[in-house]
Symmetry: C2
Subunit: 639 residues, 2 copies
């Protein structure tokens, strides 16, 4: 991998981390044993595997075209690619010959479908070969390629098998002939960013600089005028004014990326693009690109983020609206958007080891991200409401199943988010039970974390270098725990506040086998308030403990969740419940509710409802909607 | 008019009431001089008048078909009919040869279009004559007929001209041959109730019992099984399962009307139906029908009414959802639904002189109804939000302009809502400046109201019978004013609370020329709270004064409306502002807001926002959105 002055850190690969702790092990086992197999069944059931056979005449559509004459079937390749990616990460944690055989079968279908020039998109090859590369705006051709490429890379990393990777590299070679600055090349890019991430991964895997160049080309072309999507529409005989999304903000191609100051449009597209931009900035040493990432990060985090790290309030554009517009009951907050934010945050950490990035990464992971997957691992949320009137239920599949495999690939690759290595630094971002096998300053180091995180903030970190090695160990102290966190090295306490550098406790020393650092980050139930500009949260409070944002679900309350309120002084009590929801920590409080006695038959009266005592029991947000349809609230009334 | 034991009262016609007071005179003048002419211009501009010429080949559609292959152009006849109706009411208040000429021109177009058998629907005659009466569920054929018939009746009442009425009676004769119990007749009814109201009006005008029978047939057929709309769909070769609204609740034909216990579906359809049902119950002496009306009234009023008397929270079905589901920022609350409720409430008053009906009538009139029309009389709201983030603006026309003419016909016929006459009773429902020319116990009585209502609760009512006459004068004392209302007869005070019968102060005596009753209903600013089951209004309070519900509009505040809060004890001060919005009474209060100083750059913090003093100025809800796009709230945070 090329390094530049801007790439300060590299994440330790999922291949080098064992997950041992209860919390992630349970989620991981569920994904391995239930999610990945059940997703494959759905791919079969929905004819998605069959569709890769590219038979003639093409079979009738499984997903009917919508009002815009569009079918989500056009991006089935991406779903298959994402499933391969998730399954490959899973294989790292437990070999499964059956899953491997399925991926190999898919590989052969792709090999058979691939055209001699390398082109490989099952929809176009089977249904409209004459139209390939004619509608970059809508038809996700490069998006499909990107996801399949990510799948191929993950499969290679997990198994060492490179047939699928070879196929996809051949396709990338073809793409590189089609798009670029030469007069006979197309000046386009994909309406749904994604291939940019995959190209960066391929570059990091192979060191082939052509991949970096192609990624840079796609990023740099975005927003160039005359607008490619408009030219392309006219070439198709279509009036650009007919564009159903009306604005190229939808795909963040309304202006060159370096000039963008506000995160706009489709949230997943935005964050996939920003993931690649941050990666590209690091490898190119492009300060302007880095600056654009930082500007857009600040905008996203300080004006557009749900407390669960959900993003994109609107179903209309699956994305952003105006600053501070964060409605709870209609929150779109697509699971994919949180997952994409996690990708982006991880790339930002390579540029600058600042815990603001890892804190958001963790917020997404434990809240908006995990919420997308049911406890049993077979049902999902696409939209992640922060308030439900009891009508939101998880679904087993979706006409656009993007979120299903995004959450499974996130969980299955969780090991890849724990550690980063810099020039002479080993950084720890996440806590839980895990063992990393890393190389720092040329020395192999085993790092063993033991903790019951996120339920408990006591963390033991054992450092075992192959031989004594001098490097800085950087341990993220989450913002919520910085005031009271304690640390000790081999039993001797360390002043946390003094050693904090951008949120990381830095211990610089010569490390020897058996060195132990302990952290104690007290997990007290705490309150979160929103900026008063967030209309939806005025007069409300959210509860949290450690990295977990809490919610009140109707099934745990006697009073209606909409009537429950607490005061700013209400005592919150954390209680470990080993059996509830497979193990959780609830928050309990004496709250108040509103009596309905006086209201029989009356809709409006001139006296306020009478308050009555009530109990409140809150559970972690990610665990909601696992006990049937249920009213729920993250933001609780505060009196 | 036939009378039965159930019709206790009859409303005094708009033709017999002069409007003299400032409040309604201003609205009336605006409608006469600006709304009616500007609406005619729109009818021309949108080719709606031209479409009545029924030329061959038919011109291209003005309103493109939607995803369901439906165009609102199919009910243009109804819009024309409603404009004629509104214009006719207006003519009562100020002759206008130009408007009369336009109605006469339209009459001639209709005369020319009418088929020899009496059929008269410009869409079908011009575009698909072979399909008439084949899609009662979707295509509004009888709805169109009903509105045009109402227009014809109003024009006859206002001018004595009966050519249009003759045309429409001929059409009704045709309809009566098509629908009915005979084996060769269709067993159907309209998907959008409306003709039922018109048939009752025609019956009351002409005494022709066939009109009553046809109305009863349509009402009684509703919900009969096998379901007519399903049979009809199959006859068209369409699968009933393809029905885009999925359920016949949408058109209240899911079960026989007498069995319905909950108001469901499309709000305007429901209330138009209930208007006719109440009328029919009175004339038929049908106690079951009356009971059904009462049951559904209670359901609507105690579980489904916005505080503004808006109805139907959902855009999806333009109607009802679940009990107490009254979101403010997404409130649909179609203007037409409030107008339709006013019609229904008026019919309920004929069955039972209970001020609960007149109170809701008044609530609708001064709030959800009037809010639909701009101050200048040329722009409209279709949806009436109770909370706006500043993006809701009035429109000058709509692809479905039903609300425009519903609000103008309501205002232009306002005189028709003031008085009712019973066997030996004269009832007064509304206050303001008005003079009614009524006949009670066979004696002509002039009733002259003088007041500055709704700004002031001091009301003077002069009773001038042609000769001394013994009857009961019943004066509605609104529920909000019953505690403190005072009354006097010829200067001598009357105990209000003792004389109240179902909310009407009853004065039974021999009336002589020059008798004067005065009422003093103190108008104090007051608070309204919602049933705690209304999730959207928990922790909030609405302000009102007299019949007017208030709101805070951003243009009048320094603090953001979403951050303003008051306490249960905050003093509210009413202040007359002669120039603001053409004259209004505002409510002012010392409130608090939330400081944003500490929040620069932060979206979430662990301490609540700091409260800071703020001022609140509330205006009547019906006057909002007359000063540009503006954030607004009816329900204000209460600390």
């Amino acid at each position: 991998m090329a390094t530049s002055s801007l790439r300060k850190y590299a994440a330790v690969s999922f291949t080098d981390v064992d997950i041992t702790g209860d919390f992630w092990r349970e989620r991981l086992d569920t994904v391995l044993k239930r999610t990945i197999p059940s997703q494959y069944k759905k791919l079969v059931e929905y004819n998605m595997i069959e569709a890769m056979k590219v038979v003639q005449p093409p079979p009738p559509l499984t997903i009917p075209r919508n009002n815009h004459n569009f079918t989500t079937q056009i991006f089935w390749d991406s779903d298959i690619g994402k499933w391969i990616e998730a399954a490959s990460y899973a294989l790292r944690h437990g070999p499964d010959k059956d899953i491997e055989a399925k991926i190999d079968e898919i590989t052969e279908l792709l090999a058979k479908a691939q055209l001699p020039d390398g082109y490989l998109n099952c929809w176009y090859i089977g249904r409209e070969p004459e139209n390939r590369w004619t509608n970059m705006r809508d038809n996700h051709e490069l998006y499909n390629a990107g996801h399949m490429l990510e799948g191929a890379i993950a499969y290679f990393q997990a198994t060492g098998k490179r047939r699928l990777l070879d196929i996809m590299e051949k396709y990338v070679d073809h793409i590189a002939t089609m798009f670029g600055p030469d007069p006979d090349q197309k000046k386009g890019y994909c309406g749904h960013q994604e291939i940019e991430i995959a190209l960066m991964k391929l570059y990091h895997l192979t060191g082939d600089k052509r991949r970096l160049d192609l990624c840079a080309y796609f990023i740099n072309q975005r927003g160039a005028q005359p607008h490619y999507f408009d030219q392309e529409a006219r070439a198709r005989g279509d009036d650009p004014k007919n564009y159903w999304h009306k604005t190229h903000e939808y795909s963040q191609s309304h202006m060159p990326v370096r000039e963008q100051k506000n995160v706009v449009g489709h949230a997943v597209r935005a964050f996939y693009m920003l993931t690649a931009m941050a990666d590209l900035a690091a490898d190119l040493g492009d300060k302007d690109l880095k600056k654009a990432c930082e500007t857009l990060w600040k905008d996203a985090i300080s004006k557009k983020m749900y407390v669960t790290a959900g993003f994109g309030p609107s179903a209309h554009n699956e994305g952003f609206t105006s600053d501070y517009d964060l409605p709870n009951d209609t929150a779109y907050a697509e699971t994919c958007a949180t997952v994409a934010m996690i990708f982006w945050a991880q790339r930002m950490l390579n540029l600058d080891l600042d815990s603001q990035y890892a804190d958001v990464l963790e917020r997404g992971l434990f809240n908006g991200g995990l919420a997308g997957l049911s406890r049993d691992g077979t049902t999902y949320f696409y939209e992640n409401r922060l308030e439900s009137n009891g009508k939101d239920t998880r679904w087993a599949w979706h006409n656009c199943p993007c979120c299903t495999m995004n959450v499974s690939r996130l969980v299955a690759s969780i090991g890849g988010y724990f550690y980063s290595v810099g020039k002479s630094t080993l950084a720890v971002h996440l806590y839980g039970g895990a063992t990393g096998h890393v190389t720092v300053v040329g020395v192999k180091v085993k790092i063993t974390e033991t903790s019951d995180y996120p339920w408990d903030g006591k963390i033991k970190i054992k450092i075992d270098p192959e031989k004594d090695a001098k490097f800085a160990l950087k341990l993220r102290i989450p913002a919520w725990g910085q005031k009271k966190a304690k640390a000790a090295l081999n039993g001797k306490s360390i002043a946390v506040s003094k050693g904090l550098e951008k949120g990381y406790l830095t211990i610089n020393r010569a490390w020897a086998k058996g060195d132990v650092v302990t952290l104690d980050i007290p997990m007290e139930a705490r309150r979160i308030y929103a900026n008063p500009a967030v209309r939806a949260d005025v007069g409300k409070v959210a509860l949290a403990r450690g990295p977990l944002v809490y919610c009140i679900e109707q099934v745990d309350q006697k009073a209606p969740v909409s009537n429950i309120s607490i005061t700013a002084k209400t005592k919150l009590k954390a209680k470990r419940k080993g059996k509830l929801l497979g193990g959780t920590t609830v928050l309990e409080a004496d709250a108040s509710s509103l009596s309905r006695k006086q209201w029989e038959g009356s809709l409006y009266l001139d006296l306020p409802p009478v308050e009555v005592p009530a109990k409140l029991t809150a559970i972690p947000y990610y665990q909601w909607a696992n006990r049937g349809a249920n009213a729920m609230r993250v933001w609780i009334n505060e009196k």
